[in-house]
């Protein structure tokens, strides 16, 4: 398409009557041709004259009010906020900065607390393991393994105890217990009622370390078991067994 082809389209373009494809092509040309843009402006002046063919009509007074109302609103929203905006920007920055600082500080404290707790937990775990190892190395000490049944599937525990009755239970992958409940260790002597041990609640990962003293009557226990009981503990098992050991010789 040559320049003259575009020029022929301009009068109709001034009427906005070109088909979409033609208008698109011409508009692309207009972007790069000042001569044609000037000619379009002149043709628009011609087509604008056609507006007077329509009879003038008085719009309702409300239109004027709506327009001026919107203008006043625009003016007030631009003028007032301009001042307050500059203040607001800085005060907002100030407020935001203060909030951010507080949030950061709280986050730092929480982070430190979490680290401290983790550190303490690691220390306690390490201390318990050391203590467990020391107990295991005590002459006459025994280690018994407990395994989870269907209720305690995947859970395992090792119970070390010596002849003096010092016992340490290290358990892992224990299921969470319901609120108000706790695990309780039991020492089972053949032909005697189970001897209750202490209660304990595992951490969120299901790990637990329990230090206990085995009563003299339970030193001959052949089986060790763990049940879920009321958190305060019971003297005789009421809940189901989650873990138990094989019968030791």
């Amino acid at each position: 398409m040559v320049h003259e082809d575009y020029k022929e389209m301009i009068p109709v373009r001034a009427l906005s009557a070109l088909d979409a494809a033609e208008e698109r092509v011409l508009n692309e040309h207009l972007d790069n041709c000042s001569e044609c843009r000037k000619e379009l402006e002149e043709w628009q002046a011609t087509t604008a004259a056609l507006a007077v063919v329509a009879d003038p009509v008085e719009p309702s007074p409300e239109v004027r009010e709506r327009i001026l109302g919107a203008v006043r609103k625009d003016l007030s929203s631009n003028v007032v906020p301009l001042r307050s905006t500059s203040r607001n920007v800085w005060s907002s920055f100030g407020s935001l900065g203060a909030i951010a600082a507080v949030v950061l500080f709280v986050a730092l404290l929480v982070g430190l607390f979490v680290l401290w707790r983790q550190n303490r937990a690691y220390r306690e775990e390490l201390a318990a393991k050391n203590e467990f190892i020391q107990l295991v190395n005590t002459p006459g000490a025994r280690v018994t393994e407990l395994k989870g049944n269907d209720l305690g599937a995947g859970a395992t525990a090792k119970l070390a105890h010596d002849a003096a009755g010092r016992a340490i239970l290290m358990a892992s992958k224990l299921p969470n217990v319901p609120a108000g409940k706790a695990y309780q260790l039991w020492f089972i002597v053949p032909n005697k009622p189970p001897v209750p041990g202490k209660t304990f609640v595992p951490d969120s990962a299901g790990n637990a370390v329990l230090k206990d003293e085995i009563a003299g009557a339970a030193l001959d226990a052949k089986v060790f078991a763990i049940t879920v009981e009321p958190a305060s503990g019971v003297s005789a098992p009421t809940g189901p067994i989650y873990l138990r050991s094989s019968e030791v010789n």
């Binding site: 002046a45 604008a48 507006a51 329509a54």
Partner: protein, 208 residues
């Protein structure tokens, strides 16, 4: 040859006289004031052109509520875009009419309400001409444009009216009139060139 330099000069002379020079200068000053966010200037411009532009929008939309809504949009656009007006590229009247018609046609196309009869709308609105309207744009000017149009063959005038007031494209006009597209294109272009020459020829008789 309708496109000769002398004719173009005469046409420009007509267009410049379509508005009295003081009015044009006033309008430019008003638009500059509006660009400087002068509310009173917008009110003055509105009072000057509301009837002409609303009449145009009523003719296009044939619906008072829609036309008033578009008129509001047009003047709010003037308020926001007055800084875009360049007096070296056209006159305020052309700018305002182009804005109003463009928005009116857009609304019309949106409403897909092209089936109304232009002659009916003209009758409906003609009873509501105000003093302000006649002051703002004298009936003599309307008469001269109408006279120029009346000198066009109907086969040229009708496509122009369908395009201007009904917002139809050339293809739509061809379908409406049952004429080949090429024929419609030729008639529209010839009609527009003739109109420009006729207006230029009558321009000398304007008393602005």
């Amino acid at each position: 040859m309708l496109f000769c330099g002398q004719s173009v000069f005469a046409w420009r002379s007509y267009i410049s006289r379509l508005q009295p020079r003081p009015a044009q200068e006033d309008d430019v000053a008003l638009l500059k004031a509006i660009a400087a966010r002068n509310e009173a200037a917008l009110a003055q411009l509105y009072d000057r052109y509301r009837a002409i532009l609303f009449g145009l929008l009523m003719r296009i939309l044939n619906n008072r509520e829609e036309a008033e809504d578009v008129l509001q949009e047009v003047f709010l656009q003037v308020w926001r875009k007055a800084t875009d007006f360049d007096e070296n590229r056209g006159r305020p009247f052309t700018w305002l009419v182009t804005l109003a018609r463009s928005r009116g046609i857009d609304r019309l196309r949106t409403l897909a309400a092209r089936e109304r009869v232009a002659e009916t709308s003209a009758r409906e609105v003609s009873e509501d001409i105000s003093d302000a309207a006649t002051d703002a744009f004298k009936s003599e000017q309307r008469g001269l444009v109408t006279k120029a149009l009346s000198q066009l063959p109907d086969e040229q005038k009708r496509p122009l009216m369908l395009a201007y007031f009904d917002g139809l494209t050339q293809s739509e006009i061809a379908a409406r009139l049952g004429a080949p597209l090429g024929t419609v294109k030729t008639r529209m272009r010839t009609g527009l060139i003739s109109l420009r020459e006729l207006l230029a020829g009558q321009g000398e008789s304007f008393g602005f």
